[in-house]
Symmetry: C2
Subunit: 127 residues, 2 copies
DNA sequence: CTGGATCCCCGGAGATACTG
DNA sequence: CAGTATCTCCGGGGATCCAG
């Protein structure tokens, strides 16, 4: 990632570049509002697709599946299918997912803390 | 925001809904990869437009100005213009901005910590 | 150097319909 | 219910040019 400056040890800096680009890729995937909201909603629990659809305000069917796939692919959520009929699919955060949730929580707290600041900053700016 | 459930005290829940929608709006603005990268690069210091352009790998002229405006509007960065010629414009994080940087940092740490997990998760998924 | 404005195009994202 | 596929459309975002 951006903070990977290790000039001296050029053991194999092709590897470093690879890790860097992978990191940026992950960043692009995950630093997105829907992913954050999904992670936040999942929290410690387990939710079904339709529950997520309801809880994550304003997300479309497509965006939800898309982001869930992405999160699953990156190993942040686990998807368990109950072979019943009608099917029941549940999503849970994995350990990496829960770890990330800590920082997402941080952002939620931050948002609430600075709502006022931001609102006034906006008013000042919009003139 | 999503976590604002205060059922009992309905002093004025129109206000609550307003705060909620504002929070979601802020979330949509800020939870975006470019904003995060800019905040990360600014860190404790001060950077000029062109420096940011170089440091934030792959960002276009347009995206940079756009995000800087957005961050300025929300009061996360301060923009100081030195009336020299050629002009010199510097960007710094405000206090809210620095506060948010903590969580962005958290995400960077997280990324490095789980690079391995994620890489293997991807390989398993892509089959 | 900073940053608006304009043009243009590709792909993100919604709506709909269909399978298991 | 969960998920994929197809079509469509609008706007995000790049490239370029101009101004202060």
């Amino acid at each position: 990632m951006v903070t990977t400056q290790l000039k001296g040890a050029s053991a194999d800096d092709a590897d470093l570049r690879r890790a860097d680009s992978l990191a940026r890729e992950i960043f692009s995937d995950v630093a997105n509002k829907w992913a954050f909201l999904i992670i936040e909603m999942l929290g410690e629990g387990t939710l079904r697709f339709s529950e997520l659809r309801n809880e994550v305000e304003g997300i479309s069917h497509k965006m939800l599946t898309q982001n869930l796939r992405m999160l699953e692919r990156n190993g942040l959520v686990e998807r368990t299918v109950h072979p019943t009929v009608p099917p029941r699919v549940e999503y849970t955060l994995t350990e990496p997912g829960r770890a990330l949730r800590a920082t997402v929580d941080g952002m939620c707290v931050w948002t609430h803390r600075y709502l006022g600041h931001i609102e006034t900053a906006r008013r000042r700016f919009d003139t």
